[in-house]
Structures are given as structure tokens and as C-alpha cells.
Amino acid sequence: MTKTLLTRAVSLLALTLSLTSGCDEGSQAVRPQSALPPRSVEDGLLYIEPRDDGNANTLLLDVASNDARVVRSELPAGTVQTLERPGANKGRQVIVFTSGRAAYKDGDGKHHELVPAHLMVFARTGELKPMTLPLAGMFGQIKLSEDGKYALAYQSSGFLVVQNAIQVVDLDKLAAKDPAPSQLVELLDGRETGTLVFSPPGTFKRRLVIAPLPNALQIIDLEHPERREISITLSEGSALTPAKIVFANDQFFVQNVGSPQILSFQFIPVARGEHDFQLAPTILNASSAVTDLAITGKDDKLRLLALSGRLDVLDPRIGTTAKVDAVTGFTQILQFDGKSPVDQNVTPRAALYAQGRGQIGFVDLGNESAWATRNVELIELGEALLSLQHIPSKNLALVRHASNKLSVVDLVARTVKRVLLDSTQATTLLDENAAHARLWVASGNDSLGSIDLVSFKATSVPLSFTPPSDPFGGEGDRPPFEQVAQVEQPGNLVLVPRAGGTARRLAVLQQSDTGRVTFLDADNPIPATALEVLGFFIAGLLD
């Protein structure tokens, strides 16, 4: 009896110790913090943190003062997209769009109601509540006009919904608390649109949005979205696929894939009818299939530039007026106004380029009578072009190559300066607001430099980061790769406007799974102006 009791007591003690030591067994692994790349708000960054339950939080990192703070808020259900709000609040506000979620029953039989798509505007202080708008249903995409006035939600989804509906939101009306800031437009054409093209504000006579579809255009009058959309068939004979739409004052032009036909639509006001305007079509023909389309001049001097193996110059009223040869191989047009090495007059000019080609061709467009005889002036890049970015304020073009090289093309002097990066993985950010356009280059986690694109003075930014140490002390103790969240690729760069004025901070996003960003004064990037913000993803972890 005594022996039995003793045996049981010892067994119980052993069980106790084994349970205590092994109590982690069966627990779920802690998910690493993760976040989507941030957007800038005034004096801050806005991150989206996806959660395990499929929803997401916003994390607002407020660095208005050096005592940084974090504000989190929960987002409605659905896939999240963030967009920089264009226009006056560019870089200072972020549009957050959630796609919504269909109604469903969970495993416990509990019914969950449909959550519609939501549109929200965030600033440094958080969500601007008056500008939060639940939409009419679930939508997959959002697009903003370039002045930030209109937001269009499209690609509606869900069961028994009109799939080709578009919801037009007037953000100015929303901010002004207008009772009807949005309008649901159900397109009569049964096809769902993939892209939307806005008429640019201040250029075209009416704010329109055009949905290019195979052989058709669906047009919504944004100033009167309650009116029925305008549907235009592009060709009765052959099917045309719209590729690019360019706008003039009272016309817009449609370039089509693999076609020499350019369709022109003239805006004509009318007194009667459902709409107060008509769009009168005209067909223009280039020499051959057009690869790019641009316009130059205005009114009577409005000309279309169509690149089609040669550069066709078309007067929309009468058709082709001139053809510039020797441009074979160029597929893109960059139209700009400026001087040239031999002409001090600021006149329209064009730079022609093509991906994979190592040359840029310049055409002077100022003297129309000379166009027909004007030769293209070629400059060599030395390496094949990958992409070209225009810097209008400085009349420069930043050309990226497939290698770790950049070329800066002076469109006025027609010269090329080559910049060598230390890695093909280097991240670059163009700061056009700088007194001299500045190119920031980050490589790896702690290497940052910049180059003035006018003076070509290069600066290495001596960030006094402590070199990352290995907290594990050896390769063998490292956690498995999948347990380390790659929150940010090292060296990602974001420009963050400061409150009031034009001052900006450069945010260097460093690889981390707890949050690590260094902010530098973009005009005076020295350690004394720097602020390293650490651990914001784990702020309030225990609360």
C-alpha cells in the first residue's frame, strides 16, 4: 500500500515536471509582423498591416516631432489598396480603398453580412472621418483623376451584382459633406472595363472618363455622372483596340494597336439631348501602324505627332502635313518645349526613343515648314534604354539601363551623363522638388547617396547607423527563413512632405521585421538632422 502511494506520488511529480516544461507544445507560432510598403502622409508614413483573419489595420507613423508616435485603426473587410492622393495634397494624404467582402456563414454557422467596398482618406492625424464613404457594393479596383478630384471604383464583384458598374466619387463634394458625393453608373455595354482614362483637368473642355474596350469607348461625363454613358463603336469594318488616348482643348485622339488609323473626336456643345455635347468623329491615317501618339501646339497650330516608323505630323483638320524620316526603330515620343544647342528660342521639340535602343533622336517642331526636311539628330546613350523618365522642371530625362547604370540626358544641350550605381539592386528616387533635381540612391541596408542632376555633385550620406550585429551569434541558431518577415526591401526610399512649405524628409526604409526607418532632411541630409525610428510595428505589443 505504502509502496503504491509512493510510486503514484513520484509518477505525479514526473508528470508535473514534464507538463510544465513542455507546456509550449501545441501552441501556435507567433506570426511575424508584416506590412505593405508605406505611403507618405504629411510628416508621416501610412502602413497597411494585413492580419491573420484576412482583414487589415492601418499603422500611421507620425514623426511630426522627434517623439514619434503610432496610431492604429482597423479597416473594413476586403483587399486593401492605397493610393497617393494627387493634386494639392500629393504626398500629404493617402486614399485607402478596401474591396469589401461577400456575405458568408462561418464554421460555427454564424452569418456574416456583406461588407461593401470603402473609400477612406488618411492624413497624419489619422482617418478623415467625413471623407469615409461606404460604396454601393464590392469593387476590385479604384482609380483617381490626376487632380485628385474624382475617384472611380470599378470591377464590381459579388453574387447577383451588375459586374460592369462604375461608382463615381467626387472627393471635393465628399470633403464638403455634399449629401450626394457619388453616383453609381451601370454601363450598358456588357463588357467589364480594365482601364480608365481621365481627361486632364484644365486641358479638355469637359471632365470625362473613358473606358477603352475592344473596338469601343465607353464615356462617362464626370460632371454629370447621373446621365447615361456615351458608347462609341470605333470601327464598323475592322476591330480596333484602343492603345492610347491624348487630349487637346476640344478634341481627343485615339491611337489603336497595330493600326495606322487615329480616331479624332471633336467636342461640340449642343443645346438639346440627354447630353449637352456631342463627340464628332474623324479618321486620320498615318503612314503605318502607330506606336505612339503626342500632340503639340494648340488651336490652328495643333498638330498630332504619330510615330509609325517615320514621324507623321498631322493637322487634325486636314490630315498629314509632314513626315520626318530616319526615325525607324523609335517607338516612343517625349514632347517638350525648350531650347536647342543651335536655337535659343523655346519651341516645341520631341525626343524619340525605344526600349532596347541605345540612341535618342531629337526633332525640332518649331518651324513647321522645315519639318519635312528636318533630319533627326541622334545622340548615343552607349547602352540599351530600359525606361525613360522626364524631369520637366529641368528639361532632363533620366534613362535607366538594364545594367547598374543610369544616363541623365540634357534635353536642351543634348548631352548624356552616365551615372554608375554600385549595384543593379540599388533603389533610386528622383526628388524633382529639390532646388536642383536630386537622385537618391540606396543600396543595401545602410548605404545611401545622392547626386545633383544639374551640377552632378555626388554626396555620400554618412548615416551613423550602428552596423547590424548578429544577435544569434552563429548561422546554426538562425530561425528558419519563413519566420522572418520581409517587411521592406532594404533601401526603399519615400519622400515625406513636412507640414507647411516645401520642406521634405527622405524616409529610408530599412529591412526589419519590427519597423526601422531613418528620416533625413532631404535638403540637408546630415546625421544631425536624422531621426532613426525603431520598433514601431511592436509598439503596444503587450497592450
Binding site: 507567433v30 530561425p479 503587450l542
Partner: protein, 220 residues
Amino acid sequence: MLPPRLGPVEPAVEPRRHGDATAPFALGIGGSFLWPGEQDYALSEQKRTGAFELFATYDVWTPVPTLVLAAGVSLRNESRTIDYDYDLRQNIVQAELMVRQVATPWLHPHLRVAVGGVITNFSRTDSAAGVKYEDTAGGVASTFGAGFTLRTPPRLFETRKGHLASLSFGVLVEGGYALNQDAELEAKPTQASEIERATFSFGSLERSAAYLRIAGVVRF
């Protein structure tokens, strides 16, 4: 050489009989299950954690034959590493008073009250950035519990010469609540930097928890 003595043989001496074995000292070793109020310190969905327990008591007063007041010290150590990233270490040292009733020779119910201090060290390693955040916070700790000890009967291990008469072994089971001061923990990087830094707070760690303590006890 003396001749052998003849006569009756003296009877063998019997071992000396002791009274009921007195055993004022008790040493215990075991573990506790802890159920913190928050879901395992917000680190995972695990709702239970564990700790190592070590304690010693001495019977200081016996007001009536079946009631004993013991005083002692106890140490609770909790050490956890989660996914290589989070590391939580807590040490609690307490002075305790235990009232034990000798209900039967093998069952001793008890009440226990303990007061002391707790030191918490919490760290988070950011392996991607090579940064480790760490902070330590102290506080007041107290424990209120009730339970019982199942023990071997007295004199079970007594030798023929009367040694080990007071030795007994037992199993202590106790439930209660550890009422501990919350810890405010900052995410302080352990590495220095020459540029200005902004860091954040981990927040408040709730250190109070219901517990179940199971320990092996040796009494002598």
C-alpha cells in the same frame, strides 16, 4: 585464557521507540501552470504558460496538535522563448506563511499567503535588422493559494536504528491567484546609435495569473 561463562543468555536490546516523527523542514520542487488574464501576453494564441517552482518552509508554531504554521521562502522562475524572437524571463521571490492542517497522517490541507518581488525581463530580437530590444521591470508580487499535500505515512522510512524516522515524501497540489504588479516595458535597443532615435513602448505586461502548483515535497 578465561574459561567460558555459563548461564542464561541475556535478551537482545530492542530498538528505541520514538514518538510521532516531528518534521519541521520541508523542501519542494515542481512547477506551475499559469493562466494570465490576457492571451498569453498577447504574443500568441496560447492561453497557458508554465513556471519552475522551488520552495522551503519551516514549521514555526503549532497552536493545536493538528494545526501548524510554517514560514518559508519560494522562488518561481518563468522563462520562455517564442519563435526565436520573443524572450520573456520572470523571477519571483517571496516570503510565505502556510497554515497546514494535519487532517490525517497522509493528507494535509493548507492555506498559503506569500509576498515578495518580481523582476521581468522582456526582449524582442529583430533578426532582419540585427536589432535587439530589451527592458527589465520590477514590481510587487503576492500569492494567495489553497491546496493539500498527500504524503507518505510517518516513520515509513525509519531504519532499525531509528534513523530517518521523520523523513517523508509527498505531493503538493495548490491552486490560487498570483496578484502581481503589471510591468511597463519599453522597446529599448541594446545597440547604441550616434543619431537621434525614437523608440516605442511594448506596453503593459499583465503579470497576474491564476495558477495551479504541483510539486514534490520532502519533509524531515
